[in-house]
Symmetry: C2
Subunit: 235 residues, 2 copies
């Protein structure tokens, strides 16, 4: 299996970096091929702009998704985007490894999605969810949180974690057709002892060893919606 780890942390010796290193070693030991996009180390540019297109469909007025489509079709996307797309097309599993910032991805990673999940290849028109352009590939979040487990849930202070992750897991990953495996979540990381962190790393290793046994998340299926994307009446 080909695995791409998209990694975003601004401290090279962080717990997230230890998770990334562990995943590389564990997956390679299982016989898989692994590439890492270490966004901070690469100095990845997260800002979606006109500079992303070396040739414009419409040089006078930027509609970002339309230029993505044109750039993908004509092979004129900026080189840093094209390089990430090569890795994305090569990968059969994509792991997104990052600390939650404000209930979402750090901006450097959000911008990777903004720029690399290009219209034309990854989605377009009704090619979304199970008909998305990346259908057949799998994805998984491997994240750290400052909060503790009891702070998430229907009556908990921060609400349901699956709903907080919905824009990412459904709105980004599911939307482009990826089969999304249950996330690995490391709670309370900044406050843990060395031993407690080692225990979480052991849990992560076990999670990586049983990926094929994990039940993917459920998302909308396009057969259940009509041509206007309205739900079809129940049969």
């Amino acid at each position: 299996m080909n695995v791409l780890i998209v990694f975003a942390h601004n401290e090279a010796r962080s717990f997230n970096a230890a998770m990334k290193d562990l995943a590389v070693d564990t997956l390679r030991a299982q016989g898989h091929a692994v590439q890492v996009s270490d966004l901070y180390a690469m100095g990845f540019n997260p800002v979606a702009s006109a500079a992303d297109f070396t040739q414009r469909r419409n040089p006078d007025y930027l509609v970002y998704a339309l230029e993505q489509r044109h750039g993908y079709e004509t092979g004129t996307l900026a080189p840093d985007i094209a390089a990430e797309l090569d890795k994305l097309q090569w990968a059969e599993l994509i792991i997104f490894n990052f600390p939650i910032y404000w209930y979402g991805m750090p901006a450097i990673l959000k911008g990777w999605v903004d720029r690399v999940f290009v219209s034309g290849l990854c989605y377009g028109g009704r090619r979304i969810y199970d008909r998305g352009g990346l259908a057949g590939k799998r994805a998984m979040l491997a994240i750290s949180l400052g909060g503790q487990e009891h702070m998430f849930g229907p009556d908990a202070i921060h609400g349901e974690l699956d709903l907080l992750l919905r824009p990412i897991q459904r709105g980004m990953l599911g939307y482009v057709g990826l089969t999304v495996l249950p996330p690995f979540i490391a709670y309370h990381v900044p406050y843990l002892s060395h031993d407690a962190r080692q225990a979480i790393l052991a849990d992560y290793q076990a999670h990586l060893a049983r990926l094929d046994q994990l039940e993917p998340l459920a998302f909308p299926r396009m057969d259940d919606y009509d041509e206007h994307l309205r739900p079809k009446p129940a049969p």
Copy 2:
């Protein structure tokens, strides 16, 4: 009233830009003072990194939130962050004006939150939600979407829009104590006629004229949670 508009769009003549210009004109005509942070025009850097601190509490190992707190307390945050913090402290209403990218903020704006909502000033420990550092100020989203209104809802293809916006409205804005007004949402923008867009702008102007009549969103209240942030038993 002092109003800060944080604006993020990569096309200067976009519909979002028209919304921003309309808000500036409308609010000034009402007698308010308005500042705009036009993130693309400013070339705003959205990447949270060690470069954000001109003096480090711990130069050997970066814990971003701890350095934010130190940088705020010692006045040693990077100048671009300090400039945005000045506007944030000046403002009584903050409008976030942007197109939804992947059910969230464009990375350039997500990074504004990552870097400018600093620990120490905006939150810290149990100073969150109604005890957050920005309590007493108001905030509002003014956003555009590609989707149509019928694509959002409990059984709709993209799910409930309020849940998709929860990480932003509750997880970012509510978390730091902001009173969050109902969002203004412009649907289906890329596909609309000029006349339809003008009608939406008129609706936005009406929304801006009745801000004081809008019922804010409800978020957790810290009195309902104990010192471990567990819900207190019902009285």
